[in-house]
């Protein structure tokens, strides 16, 4: 084993350390929240705050363990991650979330559809956006009109189904 390899292995795994920090923060938030709960333990002495306290402490212990594993380099190799497709999908989900109440289910979900397809290499939005909206509209008809699911309606839905909510 060469010295260089050895150095790579000994380098602390920063991503894993960030995970550990996240776990510790989550655990601390749970502990903080459980502290303000009135202890209505009654006979058992185990109130609403007890289990969260155990979980919070558990998460902090796991954070410590994760730090140890990160320093030892125990985390598995990760394949190279490409950020662009991930961001496209996040943009699609965020776009749907923002548009849902304003533009209705079909248009909002059409945006998600088109941007997801974009992330997987179908770049032509002038094709994927109409296709996405059309498919979403069909889905909307089936699920809101036939299966009585409550899906937000927008201008497009109102155009075809005037009375739709």
């Amino acid at each position: 084993m060469s010295l260089k390899q050895y150095e790579i292995q000994r380098r602390p795994d920063w991503a894993a350390l960030i995970i550990a920090a996240g776990l510790a923060v989550f655990g601390a938030v749970i502990l903080w929240d459980s502290a303000r709960l009135a202890d209505l333990g009654g006979y058992s002495g185990v109130g609403p705050g007890t289990v969260p306290r155990v979980v919070g402490i558990g998460l902090i212990l796991l954070a410590v363990w994760t730090v140890a594993a990160a320093l030892r380099g125990d985390f598995p190799e990760r394949p190279r991650q490409q950020p662009a497709p991930v961001l496209w999908i996040i943009a699609g989900l965020a776009g749907q979330l923002i548009l849902l109440k304003i533009a209705g289910f079909s248009i909002a979900t059409g945006v998600l559809f088109a941007l997801t397809a974009r992330a997987f290499g179908k770049r032509n939005l002038t094709l994927t956006l109409p296709v996405g909206i059309a498919i979403s509209f069909v889905v909307w008809i089936v699920f809101s009109q036939l299966l009585m699911l409550n899906l937000p309606a927008g201008p497009l839905e109102h155009l075809f189904f005037g009375g739709a909510r």
Binding site: A15, I19, F26, G27, I30, D33, S34, L37, A38, L40, G41, Y43, S44, G45, V46, P48, G49, T50, V51, P52, V55, L59, L62, T66, D74, F75, P76, R78, R80, Q81, Q82, P85, V86, W88, I89, I90, G92, L93, L97, L100, T109, L112, F113, A114, T116, A117, A119, F120, G121, K122, T128, G132, I135, V139, F143, L147, L149, N150, L151, P152
Partner: protein, 505 residues
């Protein structure tokens, strides 16, 4: 009445034309979604849960059972023809099945998988029917402390007994515990972890978490790998029927696979994949054609596929009789029960026998429907495999968000879907198993309730957990299941365990 009478009664319930129709829709949808690459039974069930929201409980659960079995059938088609197993339990099937498909023997491979699944599903469902009343009787003597111990055992086996890291399994489990704390405390009505946000008072929906983890997380993880080129689908050449030698080489593996898979599914011991590995190893040892293994041996498809389906039915034993989900798929099915205010367990057999037995009987019917649906119509399902990735994942996310919006049309719920999707992506990248977080979320409130009940009865005396022999034994096994793998991994014997790992169901 004996189990047989109940089963007959159940068959009478399930043969109501409307319920048969629901079962048919369920198996069709389940197969169609299960065939899609990258979608396992857990996601299939989570995606299709909203379809059943507006049905009556019986119809919905029967459709659900059909989806579950259909997803298992569909998964084998994907792994044989595409070599990308749709579910972890099909990895072994892909090993031999895809080699057979490459040699142009895809037809018999699909046939032995389908018939093997049918045989295993039939026997295992009957075993479920005859075993369930006995487990129910046993469960009636269980008090809160025994239930608590059983759940602790399930936590350990799901999170850390198998897989390649105790740390990551436990971390995933505790994330589930932490998320489960959100909402109103069941015993005192106090709001926990809700930070004044009214949307959080109801807690975090299991289906939202499952869909985020499996659909959004998976889509992000696949997208992040970039374009790795198209997967090749092997066309089914020649006859789908098996010849005489195929039959004679298949029937014993089917039966052996069934009897290996069922007990493993029925024990609180994690996913179906363990059974498939054991079955594969058994067939490899017993075969008269050892040279064919690794090059497309039909026994290597028949046995694991039977084991896979038998353990799917086995999983229903603890789920229906004890209300204990041992896989992510079972956890989502439990959420399906809960949406109707039904809690599976011994009480359900007493209060709602028609529903439970109708469900078990409809599994038999769904199984028969699937055989008919899969063999002659295989060409149709194969077409689904050729959907290009961009359309496929765009569609998956469409339906994933549809389910969330349908359950609760709020931007907050969609926001949670996005956040958990990112968490799921991170967990995939860093090799965290997904099942423990889902099982932890749904099971820990129940475990907490049982623990607090047990301690109320004992007036705060914790030793009560160990003075019941049943509870003590289960806690002891749980401790062993936690410590032994830890020691094995520290001594560098972890490879065996990570081979048994599965992340999906």
């Amino acid at each position: 009445m004996s189990a047989f009478d109940f089963l007959l009664q159940g068959l009478a319930t399930a043969s109501d034309p409307m319920l048969l129709f629901y079962a048919l829709i369920g198996v069709t949808l389940g197969t169609a979604v299960g065939v899609l690459p990258g979608i396992g039974p857990a996601l299939t069930v989570a995606l299709l849960l909203p379809v059943t929201y507006r049905l009556d409980p019986a119809g919905s659960l029967i459709m659900f059972a059909g989806i579950y079995y259909g997803g298992m059938y569909g998964g084998s088609t994907t792994s044989i023809l595409l070599n990308t197993p749709g579910e972890s339990a099909s990895i072994i099937t892909a090993l031999e099945g895809n080699k057979m498909a490459r040699k142009g023997r895809g037809g018999p491979a699909l046939a032995t998988a389908a018939i093997g699944s049918f045989v295993a599903g039939l026997i295992a469902t009957l075993l479920l029917a005859f075993l369930a009343p006995h487990v129910v009787k046993l469960a009636l003597v269980f008090g809160p402390r025994e239930y608590f111990a059983l759940m602790v055992l399930a936590f350990v086996t799901v999170s850390s007994a198998f897989g390649d890291s105790t740390l990551r399994g436990l971390t995933s489990l505790f994330l589930g515990f932490g998320l489960a704390c959100v909402g109103i405390d069941q015993l005192t009505g106090q709001a926990r972890m809700s930070f004044g946000v009214p949307d959080l008072l109801d807690g975090i929906e299991v289906t939202t978490l499952a869909v985020a983890m499996f659909a959004v997380g998976e889509a992000l993880a696949i997208a992040a790998l970039g374009n790795t080129g198209e997967d090749k689908v092997h066309a089914v050449k020649g006859s789908v029927w098996m010849n005489r030698s195929d039959w004679s080489r298949s029937w014993k593996p089917w039966l052996r696979g069934t009897f290996i898979g069922f007990p493993i599914g029925a024990m609180p011991a994690g996913g179906a994949e363990i059974g498939t590995f054991l079955s594969y190893a058994t067939e490899k040892k017993l075969t008269k054609h050892p040279e064919e293994f690794g090059h497309g041996a039909i026994e290597g498809v028949a046995g694991p596929e039977a084991a896979n389906n038998a353990s799917a039915a086995g999983t229903l034993v603890p789920l229906l009789t004890l209300g204990l989900p041992t896989t992510a798929t079972a956890a989502i099915m439990l959420a399906g029960f809960q949406q109707f205010g039904l809690q599976p367990g011994p009480l359900l057999f007493a209060t709602n026998p028609e529903l439970v037995w109708g469900l078990i009987a409809s599994l038999l019917i769904a199984n028969a429907m699937l055989l008919v649906l899969n063999l002659p119509m295989i060409g149709l399902w194969v077409k689904l495999l050729t959907i290009p990735k961009p359309w496929l994942y765009a569609g998956i996310l469409l339906f994933a968000t549809l389910g969330t919006i349908g359950a609760n049309p709020s931007t907050f719920e969609l926001g949670m879907l996005l956040v958990f999707g990112l968490v799921g992506y991170g967990m995939r990248v860093f090799g965290y198993p997904i099942a423990p977080i889902v099982v932890g979320l749904i099971l820990s409130p129940m475990a907490e309730q049982q623990l607090r009940r047990a301690l109320s009865i004992s007036q705060g005396d914790w030793t009560v957990l160990l003075t019941s022999p049943i509870a003590a034994v289960m806690l002891g096994i749980a401790a062993l299941a936690l410590i032994v793998p830890l020691v094995m991994r520290m001594r560098g014997r972890g490879a065996v365990l990570s081979q048994l790992a599965g992340d999906e169901d």
